[in-house]
Amino acid sequence: MRISAKGLHYRTLNEKIHHLVDSGAKSLHVTHVNGQRYIGGGLQGDIRLTLEGVPGNDLAAFMDGPRIRVKGNAQDGVANTMNAGEVIIDGNAGDVLGYGMRGGRVFIRGSVGYRVGIHMKSFEKQVPVMVVGGSARDFLGEYQAGGIILVLGLGLAPGEPIAGYMVGTGMHGGVMYVRGKVEDWQIGREVKIFELDEADYKTMRPHLRAFARAFRLDLDEIMAEPFLKMIPYSKRPYGRIYAY
């Protein structure tokens, strides 16, 4: 079903979406999206949303199951505390992407902003996954507590860094894989850079395959470049912070 978001306030649009979903709609195509916040917020079930335009902040916040495709860029706070489902963004995304994300998967074809994957977490089988096609800015994986962050560095301009500064500051769980170079001075004191082993490739592969399929990319080409891995050096970096 097609609906137009033109000129709609986010409350009106989201009420409309929730209403349609409640009355049984399984697939919605929303055109003329521009800046409406909280689209897909708290939405549950096996639903497909296709968005044309630029959805507003907190897209898919607290989302629990649906699949969202954004034909354009996204703003800040995508997948905030998302629990399950999938968000696929054809363009770029902004800051604090995947804030406190606790499950599901987010694919971004382009680049992302600051504090991406901040405080992502995981529990048993709930493992959130984020794949960024381009680059990420400072504070990638800040306070990361779980889950998997992948940054691929596809199509970067010459000299453009794949990640910024303070990568993994405060990180104490989960893993980051970066397909490119990250220097020691770029990372937080709680993380260390490692080479990948077989288990890492096994972890990455299904997500990269899905990413390549989503954007019609060549998986072998993606896998052909070397990755590095960042994991926390200590599980409780601030365990003794108040001990002195």
Partner: protein, 365 residues
């Protein structure tokens, strides 16, 4: 005059939007109102404002003073001061219309003025310096009088209300400008009053800000040493004076001024090549008190330039775009696309890395 007890900082959500046509082509206020209206939910109705450049071509060389008066008495006192120091080319109320959500307004008056030559000579000041001094004097000493705009061929328009309603109130659809800067306020720490809405201006500088200047105290004391007085009860004001000091008084290029306000961390400086290391180390040592700490996204307007800048750790949003000769910045990409659906390029500026639009030379003359 405002009691010192109220002079505290603000913490805010806020939204901002701005664009400059580098070719100098002027457009009405309709687009900027539409853009900032889309960001309605970023503000809470306690302040909205605009700066517009190129709007007074009939008086391009006179200072355009915009004033708020609490009452007739403050106007009489203030006009005595203005008359003593300036030739008034023209004066009158700024045209407004009844607008939704805009409450009782102060008296809003506009003066096109030229400083008297003999007074400049006696004071031994340039016209700009003299205007700064007089604006400070009015804002500091005349109770109920506030100069909220004092540049040439530009003006600030602000009020308590949502920005789109403020734009309607001031009839901005009837002005034409080559640069428009807009702000919607979400004050949390300081009162929402007419003078406290953004932009903050001095001479041709106008600044809008989303965030909080945590270093306000040190910055305020620093600019006070150079004769600037913060009277508007909010932190953003000090940024306007910092830019006036660094750019106009100290003659620094804009890139240097931005590197002073939002310098790289010492950690990063340590990894720079020798020349850059010296440069940033020097700036941080000489201008340590001008460093702005805390979250901010700001837009600075001036006669020939629009500059947008983020704090060093990106604690406030900022997106930029270009379409032909027009450079846009906004708190959200949607704020740009609302008035420019298909820009040539859209990007998220890096922290501390200014977006600069410059008026083309032929348009500037």
């Amino acid at each position: 005059m405002i009691n010192d007890i109220y002079r505290e900082k603000e913490i805010s959500g806020c939204g901002l939007s701005a664009y400059m046509d580098e070719s100098g082509r002027r457009t009405s206020g309709d687009d900027i109102i539409q853009s900032i209206a889309l960001l309605h939910d970023r503000s809470n109705g306690l302040g909205g404002g605009f700066a517009a450049y190129g709007i007074y071509p009939e008086f391009p060389d006179s200072y355009a003073f915009h004033l708020f008066y609490d009452d007739g008495a403050s106007q009489v006192t203030c006009e005595e001061l203005i008359h003593a120091s300036f030739h008034i080319r023209e004066s009158g109320p700024i045209a407004t219309r009844k607008a939704f959500g805009i409450g009782p307004s102060p008296i809003i008056w506009r003066y096109f003025v030229d400083p008297k030559e003999e007074i400049l000579e006696r004071a031994g000041l340039s016209a700009d310096d003299f205007v700064v001094r007089e604006v400070m004097k009015i804002n500091k000493t005349i109770e109920g009088a506030f100069v909220f705009s004092s540049g040439k061929n530009m003006g600030a328009f602000k009020a308590v209300g949502f920005p789109e309603d403020v734009g309607d109130f001031y009839r901005l659809d009837e002005y034409r400008a080559y640069m428009w800067v807009a702000h919607g306020r979400f004050p949390t720490n300081t009162p929402g009053w007419w003078g406290g809405a953004h932009p903050f201006t001095i001479l041709d500088w106008a600044i809008v800000h989303n965030g909080e200047i945590s270093s306000y105290g040190i910055n305020k004391r620093y600019v006070e040493m150079f004769g600037y007085h913060c009277t508007m009860m909010t932190d953003t004001e000090v940024m306007a004076y910092l830019f006036d000091l660094l750019l106009r008084k100290h003659g620094l290029p804009i890139e240097t001024a931005c590197a002073i306000l939002a310098p790289p961390f010492w950690d990063l400086i340590a990894h720079m090549p020798e020349e850059e290391k010296n440069y940033y180390t020097t700036l941080r040592m000489v201008y340590g008190s001008a460093m702005a700490n805390g979250p901010f996204a700001i837009v600075l307007g001036s006669r020939d330039m629009m500059v947008a800048l983020n704090d060093r750790v990106k604690l406030r949003p900022l997106v930029a775009a270009r379409k032909g000769s027009i450079v846009y910045v906004s708190s959200e990409e949607s704020g740009i696309r609302e008035i420019c659906p298909r820009p040539d390029t859209v990007w998220m500026p890096r922290t501390g890395e200014p977006v600069i639009a410059r008026l083309q030379q032929e348009a500037a003359s």
